[in-house]
């Protein structure tokens, strides 16, 4: 009896607002308790499950770390020559041995790796940006402009890249910048073509119509709506482009147009090692192994990324 009295007392003490329905209730019921999964976190979730692609990513991370910190562990700097210690086989002091001028190859491989990776990344990013813009404009506007751009690309693709690579190198001299520019000149046409094809498919979709109805300018539609929708293709082509740029840089070193000594790159090291491989095979094998490893890692990474992005290949 007493008990009920107290309860009634409490209820009577409550303000009238306490008997109103809780305005927040429906929102609490629908609150999302797990983190949001947007497009890229979904891709990352799939990517993480792909063990092969993750291996690629880990190898890339390791190689980057070695390029940043590796030279610090070397007994001498990458350009320190010592003719008394020339062509030494790998040992406890010189982990990768020394070259014909007695320079420590461990230091040279990782310093060269910095150059190769920087050239690879910039040489892949620049032409991709350019190709995306050209392809986007060409695909969106269509008509005469598209025809002209595509014919120009046809013609440029028929000119062996060697001509303009040599042209740029002769004008700007040898160094990182001319190499990056020369390689960038050769890489944008493929990206432009595939982006153009995709934009042509996307531009007739409703969201573009909506944007146009709301008065967006063509450039804004291309940059804000069409290109973000191509981001999957762009990222994949970027990650698959990096190894091919590293390869091209090595190819330039091979024909004697690459990075000049004492600075070095993986391609140059493999090329120099290739000249003495009969007597000192390790000078060829070590840089070769590193080049193959980095190409492999980037290819595995890009492949895995493509599989995570492509809904048709999902199970």
């Amino acid at each position: 009896m007493k008990h009920i009295f107290y309860q009634r007392q409490i209820i009577e003490d409550l303000p009238p607002e306490a008997f109103m329905p809780d305005p927040e209730a429906h929102r609490r019921a629908e609150v999302i308790s797990r983190p949001n999964i947007n497009f890229w976190s979904d891709v990352w979730r799939r990517f993480r499950k792909n063990r092969v692609a993750m291996t690629g990513l880990v190898i890339i991370a390791l190689l980057v770390l070695l390029c940043v910190f590796g030279p610090l562990l070397a007994p001498t700097s990458y350009e320190f020559t010592n003719m008394k210690a020339a062509n030494l086989a790998p040992s406890g002091a010189n982990w990768f041995g020394t070259d014909k001028l007695g320079r420590d190859l461990w230091a040279r491989v990782w310093v060269g790796g910095r150059i190769s990776l920087v050239v690879g990344v910039i040489g892949a990013v620049l032409p991709t940006i350019f190709g995306v813009i050209v392809g986007g404009v060409s695909g969106y506007f269509g008509g005469k402009l598209d025809m002209i751009i595509m014919r120009v690309i046809d013609i440029i693709m028929c000119i062996p890249s060697l001509i303009y690579i040599i042209l740029i190198m002769l004008y700007l001299g040898t160094g990182i910048l001319p190499i990056v520019l020369a390689i960038s000149m050769t890489g944008w046409m493929g990206t432009a073509r595939s982006i153009r094809a995709l934009v042509m498919q996307l531009k007739v979709r409703e969201f573009v119509l909506a944007a146009r109805a709301l008065g967006s300018s063509p450039m804004k539609i291309i940059l804000r709506h069409l290109i973000p929708n191509c981001s999957g293709i762009i990222v994949v082509s970027l990650s698959l482009h990096i190894p091919s740029v590293i390869f091209q840089e090595a190819y330039l070193s091979f024909i004697g147009l690459g990075i000049q000594s004492p600075m070095t790159s993986w391609g140059q090291l493999a090329q120099i090692g290739g000249e003495v491989y009969r007597n000192y095979p390790y000078q060829l094998l070590i840089p070769s192994a590193v080049i193959c490893l980095v190409m492999l890692a980037f290819n595995l990474f890009g492949d895995g990324l493509r599989d995570s992005l492509d809904p048709r290949l999902r199970d």
């Binding site: 062996p160 060697l162 042209l167």
Partner: protein, 304 residues
């Protein structure tokens, strides 16, 4: 069909002409000329005489008109670096070598690549699939100059089974052809096309009406998956036939690729121009043939 062929032919000619023009001015805008590498070796008057002999003292636009007038008469001129050799004779001599190397590489590598793709797609997710993919990724990950050197080291230096270099008989062709072929043993695109085809309705129909597995794979899936592969074949064939500089240099094979790099680096205008035009004509022709072949193999895209 005939109208299409004629139209394509003229567009190709026009493309080739524009291309040759662009390359002509690109080459002539490089600093120096083919004679100037003799600076200090030859007396000044002799160098000027040489320039006059080859017409290099004329303004560039005059040289341009002269060059194209000659080209329309079928004359590609004399090489500026090799004394008394015509560009045509250099092509006649080096092209068969490059083409034979390229064709062998293609004939060995391409079918293997396609086959690996088919196997991978059929055994999707099984060990065979992974092995095929790994071979494919290795094929594009190992640069040809590294593969060539390592093969030379193993088979020529260590084991002594095969000659290190040169081009004098079947034994000499094994290593370069394998290097060439290895880059094409990439079955990943074939695998992707196969997987695309597998989920099509006509494959289900074939299965439902009791077509045996083997026949389903080769008659129904393989044929349809090969269609998009045909598109990439044009540039591939053109590239294989016109030679690769790296392999030709490492194995000292006297092919077109090597001649080309030497010509561009040495500013041998006429030889570089002639070879570029030859490459481009080849590529354009190969793409043209592929477009025609596409109409033949795929009835859906018969050209009007």
């Amino acid at each position: 069909m005939l109208k299409y062929v004629v139209k394509r032919f003229f567009i190709s000619l026009l493309t080739l002409f524009i291309l040759a023009t662009v390359v002509f001015f690109l080459l002539h805008s490089l600093p120096g000329d083919p004679i100037s590498s003799n600076n200090g070796i030859l007396p000044k008057e002799l160098m000027n005489k040489l320039r006059a002999h080859y017409g290099l003292d004329q303004p560039v636009w005059k040289q341009y008109i002269q060059y194209f007038a000659n080209m329309f008469r079928g004359e590609l001129g004399y090489s500026l670096k090799h004394a008394n050799r015509t560009v045509a004779s250099v092509i006649r001599e080096s092209f068969p070598v490059s083409a034979s190397l390229g064709l062998r590489g293609l004939a060995l590598g391409y079918p293997i690549g396609v086959l690996l793709g088919v196997i991978a797609a059929r055994r999707r997710g099984k060990p065979a699939d992974y092995i095929c993919i790994i071979i494919g990724i290795l094929a594009i990950s190992v640069p040809s100059f590294i593969l060539a050197r390592i093969l030379q080291w193993i088979f020529s230096v260590k084991l002594g089974w095969l000659p290190v270099a040169q081009w004098k008989g079947f034994k000499y062709t094994i290593l370069p052809v394998f290097c060439m072929a290895f880059g094409m043993m990439n079955g990943r695109s074939m695998r992707a096309y196969m997987l695309e085809v597998v989920s099509q309705d006509y494959i289900k129909t074939a299965k439902a009406k009791g077509v045996p597995e083997r026949r389903r794979v080769w008659r129904h899936m393989f044929r349809n998956a090969m269609l998009p592969m045909v598109t990439g074949l044009g540039p591939l064939v053109a590239g294989a036939l016109t030679g690769t500089f790296v392999i030709e240099t490492i194995f000292s094979i006297p092919g077109l690729g090597k001649q080309y790099v030497d010509a561009v680096k040495g500013l041998d205008y006429t030889l570089a121009m002639g070879l570029t035009t030859f490459f481009a004509a080849f590529l354009i022709f190969a793409n043209f043939m592929v477009d025609l072949a596409y109409g033949l193999v795929d009835p859906r895209v018969r050209i009007e």
